[in-house]
């Protein structure tokens, strides 16, 4: 294979309000024809900057300080801008993270593809249109003729990303840069887009630079992988070796912080401290301050490349052959450590804390002259579930399935249309005034977005104390103050934090504050709405550890709303899977995750990319994938009968007739599918 793209010693700078930032400090990589090269890293590591630097599309206050980007042996950094434009789109194509905003909203899909063809003089006029239609077909868009004249907003997220791929590939570039191409997509859609990218690459023999934060996606897609940290590559290697041998302490921690079934009961590894600010020169290793194995040399001298073979290398002094004794000793000490006992015994069954029956939340659709109600968006349409004392129920589903609405409905933050919610044996729906307040003090909420969930104009102490004052917890201000200090300690923050404002904290710390705020009310149940989905994996690990500890010490129950299967496998005692406003399958984690019975659960679990191949589930067949590729129906107009039949590989005529009744596979395991027989 020949080197198509070679990046040498690339240094990028950005002028920011706080001075000149160095997001890239000496990046070297090569990309061969037909190869997928993945750059993986946490936010702020510089992975997207690498892509933008190669394309020379840096944000305006940024510039490339020095380095080379050789495309077919020619340095494209020295090209004048107008010649660079011949490279963009024609020789290097790029797709972006957010398909919803990356396409121009006022141009049709067809126009956006034709534009590329005409710009690079591939086809013109009607021929260009024909070619564009062909491309839509190739990226798997059904009815491409019609889609040509549609606008991006008329397409689903997955379809938009397919159009984006068509735009990027229309001029048949040698190199495709995919910057987080599936991060904004649901897992079943992600599987399809990744497959599409894989097959297009094979078909055209192009080189692909895949940029992602998701190690599992990398494990599935890449031939070679580079791990970035604080503006440089710290580890590079062929995929299998990359995951088999961490080499670098950062990689070691990162792999260990991924939640999954295998780690149930043990705490996840977490990395102390923060990514250092990238304002200037580093004297030593960039990871030294956060590294458990760092010694003097790490702080004095930047490590060189070392590794078992020339293909698989990492920047770490411990790999230096001269330091072999040190590594050996470290390894011995690691072996001596007694692993923390796996502790995942569910607490003794203390009975149901929360019992939800047939919960419904319908939002009216108003139309016409007098805003008459013409329909209902059935966001939550008859959800039943129960949460036991001290246990965690994971509510799993893809975006738009109604899981967040269901969580808010429990606390009556959205108007509930129907059903019953019994909390500790008492009906709580319809409570008003003081009683509603009392109920709310026992059920609390932690939100997804750590930046939107704290009032930026209040000090942390005020934020935590506000709920206590409202619920009348704590005899006086002094008592509440003491409690705030105690809570901050409980979530692992310094007591002085109470005088600071939220913006002074990182995402993970803000989530801790949000948890402290929820705990302030002494709740028995906390609804956690995707509390870690906005966080990097190493920070996610800290939050998950914290939640588990709190459950152990306080005996609080969690309703954990998430789309992340890894988190569910790691944390949940019970699982409920939601599709289009209804629970399709529920049971203990063991039952649902290891022996899924509903076709949707099976597809969902199979679609999750995994680091290792330990999964007990068979991979998705192409036939199943084809069925799944159908658009997710709208909750305003769900399909008749079983909601999943439009995408179900097993669907038969009878599925359209009526919504399937609940089938009890075991005492706890319940499925709504007519194909499932009770055992």
């Amino acid at each position: 294979m020949t080197d198509v793209l070679e990046v040498r010693n690339l240094h990028t700078r950005i002028d920011s309000a706080s001075g000149v930032v160095h997001p890239l400090d000496g990046i070297d990589l090569t990309l061969k024809a037909g190869e997928t090269f993945a750059i993986v890293g946490e936010s702020g590591s510089g992975k997207s900057m690498t892509a933008l630097s190669i394309m020379r599309l840096l944000p305006e206050p940024g510039w490339i300080e020095r380095g080379e980007v050789n495309l077919d042996g020619h340095n494209i950094l020295t090209l004048p801008e107008y010649r660079m434009r011949d490279v963009r789109g024609a020789r290097i194509g790029m797709i972006f993270q957010e398909p919803a905003t990356s396409l121009n909203p006022v141009l049709t899909c067809g126009e956006q593809i034709v534009e590329v063809l005409e710009r690079h003089k591939i086809e013109e006029g009607p021929a260009a249109r024909r070619r564009a239609t062909e491309w839509l077909k190739r990226v798997g868009i059904p009815d491409p003729e019609r889609r040509m004249d549609e606008y991006p907003f008329q397409l689903s997220g997955g379809m938009k990303q397919r159009v984006m791929i068509a735009v990027a590939l229309a001029a048949e570039p040698q190199v495709l840069i995919a910057d987080e191409p599936t991060t904004a997509l649901d897992v079943t859609i992600q599987a399809q887009i990744l497959d599409l990218l894989k097959s297009l690459q094979k078909e055209r023999g192009m080189a692909m630079l895949l940029i992602t934060h998701d190690l599992a996606v990398v494990a599935q897609m890449a031939h070679r992988v580079a791990l970035m940290y604080a503006g440089e590559i710290v580890k590079i290697g062929p995929r299998d070796a990359f995951f088999a041998q961490p080499l670098h302490p950062y990689a070691l921690k990162l792999f260990a912080s991924l939640p999954g079934a295998g780690k149930r009961g043990e705490p996840l590894a977490s990395i102390k401290g923060f990514v250092p600010p990238l304002h200037g020169q580093f004297t030593g290793c960039r990871f030294a301050d956060r590294c458990d194995y760092a010694y003097d040399r790490c702080r004095k001298q930047a490590p060189a490349w070392h590794g078992p073979d020339p293909q698989h290398q990492a920047r770490c002094h411990l790999l230096d052959p001269r330091e072999e004794w040190r590594l050996a000793e470290l390894l011995r000490r690691e072996d001596d450590k007694v692993p923390e006992a796996a502790d995942f015994a569910a607490p003794a069954d203390a009975g149901d804390l929360l019992e939800v029956r047939d919960l419904k939340v319908h939002f009216p659709i108003r139309k016409g002259l007098l805003k008459k109600v013409v329909g209902q968006v059935k966001a939550v349409d008859g959800v039943s579930l129960s949460i036991r004392q001290g246990r965690t129920l994971a509510l799993v589903g893809e975006s738009g399935c109604g899981k967040t609405t269901a969580g808010k409905a429990l606390l009556q933050l959205v108007p509930v249309t129907g059903g019953t919610v019994r909390f500790g044996g008492n009906e709580v729906l319809g409570l008003k005034g003081a009683e509603l307040k009392r109920m709310r003090s026992r059920m609390q909420l932690v939100f997804q977005d750590p930046f939107g969930s704290l009032n930026p104009r209040m000090r942390v102490g005020e934020i935590i104390a506000e709920g206590m004052a409202s619920f009348g917890i704590g005899a006086n201000a002094q008592a509440r103050n003491d409690r705030v200090a105690e809570l901050l300690g409980q979530v692992g923050l310094a007591v002085e934090s109470r005088y600071k404002y939220p913006h002074e904290f990182s995402g993970g710390q803000r989530q801790r504050i949000a948890i402290a705020r929820a705990l302030a009310a002494n709740p028995q149940l906390i609804v956690c709405d995707e509390p870690t989905s906005a966080l990097d994996v190493s920070v996610q690990a800290q939050i998950l550890n914290l939640l588990k500890d709190l459950q152990k010490t306080l005996g609080v129950s969690f309703l954990f709303i998430t789309h992340n299967i890894g988190v569910v496998e790691y944390l949940a005692h019970d699982v409920a899977v939601m599709y289009l406003g209804r629970i399709v399958e529920s049971g203990t984690a063991e039952e649902v995750l290891n022996r899924p019975r509903h076709p949707y659960t099976q597809a969902l679990l199979a679609a999750v990319p995994r680091l290792n191949t330990e999964s007990k589930l068979p991979p998705l067949t192409s036939e199943v994938k084809e069925h799944l590729a159908a658009d997710i129906p709208s909750p305003a107009n769900p399909p008749a009968g079983c909601h999943f039949h439009t995408r179900c590989p097993l669907a038969v005529e009878a599925c359209k007739a009526a919504y399937p009744a609940e089938v009890a596979v075991s005492a706890t395991h319940k499925v709504r599918c007519i194909m499932v027989q009770p055992e």
Binding site: M55, L57, E60, Y82, R85, D86, V87, R88, G89, A90, G93, M94, F96, E98, T101, S102, L103, N104, P105, V106, L107, T108, E115, V116, R119, H120, Y151, F153, Q154, M164, V167, A168, A171, K367, G368, L369
Partner: protein
């Protein structure tokens, strides 16, 4: 779509009724016709007879809202509100203090107003949008920076100075165009050119700054990065992608004023002696002719409401998201 427009029209009518009642309250309740008559006739020593005569001449001698003396439907219709305020919905505006029919005046004066306002509007929009696009294209450069300073300075000068300065330079010092006056529609060119030029200049800074902000906000969006990644030139990016999206917010501000162009411009018409609705209004204000002021408030409101509806409709032309949903 049509239901949407009908609903907007209905709301517009509701607004009009509200405004009509409000102006009635303002003109007849805050100050009674007696108060106005006393001022018009000159101060404190006016006799009650004179006031009564003044009121009778103008039809102000009726009850305000309910005429208990009248019979049948006239209990409601034979009132000041019905005669003077509600009647405006039927375009009956009555007479001005000098005895002329207000509606006739409005119709004849709309022409000169438009002769000034339409070129002013079109040229102004074209000039400001192009210049703002230019600034967005060269954003961050020295040109952009100095232009911005210049724009702030221009914005800080009262429009009156532009008019006076322009009149002095072009008409008095250089004698290029007549200082003021008006002719029939097609000969009016030489009279209209100066106010149009000054009008464009005096409105230039504010709009350009606003549009520049809008364009620059668009430039920062993801689809612009996509367009660049396709290899499109910066000019194509600007005209094909940024302009098209930027026009959506610009239209909101622009379409709404189109119907109000009929109203003319108070300042320009009175300075340049153009017999349009603007100078009609200003004369009415200065001579305290409440009949005309009331009529102009009503017509202005009708036109603005139409403008708001036109804005809603215009969205459907430029934004496919509105059109197709």
């Amino acid at each position: 779509m049509s239901a949407y427009i009908v609903r907007r029209l209905g709301y517009g009518l509701l607004v009009l009724i509200g405004v009509n009642l409000f102006t009635f309250w303002l003109f007849f309740k805050v100050n009674t016709p007696d108060d106005i008559a006393r001022i018009q006739l000159g101060g404190k020593r006016v006799t009650a007879d004179a006031i009564a005569k003044w009121k009778a001449e103008r039809g102000y001698d009726k009850p305000l809202l309910f005429n208990s003396a009248a019979a049948g439907i006239e209990k409601v219709t034979d009132t000041i509100y019905f005669e003077k305020s509600a009647s405006m919905f039927a375009l009956r505006f009555g007479q001005s203090d000098d005895g002329r029919d207000i509606w006739y005046e409005i119709r004849t004066r709309a022409g000169p107003s438009l002769a000034l306002q339409i070129p002013n509007f079109i040229i102004g929009l074209a000039v400001t949008v192009s210049f703002a696009l230019l600034l967005a294209l060269f954003r961050g450069s020295r040109f952009d920076f100095t232009s911005q300073i210049l724009l702030v300075v221009m914005m800080s000068v009262s429009g009156l100075f532009y008019i006076i300065g322009g009149q002095y330079l072009f008409s008095k010092a250089w004698r290029l165009v007549p200082i003021s006056g008006y002719d029939t529609l097609f000969d009016s060119f030489r009279f209209v050119i100066l106010p149009v030029v000054i009008g464009v200049i005096s409105g230039f800074a504010g709009s350009t700054r606003l549009y520049r902000t809008i364009f620059i906000e668009e430039v920062g969006r993801d689809y612009v990065r996509t367009a660049r990644a396709k290899g499109l030139s910066e000019l194509t990016v600007m005209f094909r992608h940024v302009l098209k999206n930027g026009m959506i917010p610009i239209l909101t501000g622009v379409v709404v004023v189109i119907p109000t162009l009929f109203m003319g411009s108070l300042l320009f018409e009175s300075f340049f002696g153009i017999p349009g609705l603007g100078s009609y209004t200003i004369e009415a204000i200065q001579s305290q002719d409440f009949g005309i002021v009331r009529s102009m408030v009503f017509i202005g409101t009708v036109l603005l409401v139409l403008g708001l509806i036109a804005t809603d409709i215009s969205y459907t032309f430029v934004d496919p998201r509105v059109r197709l949903e």
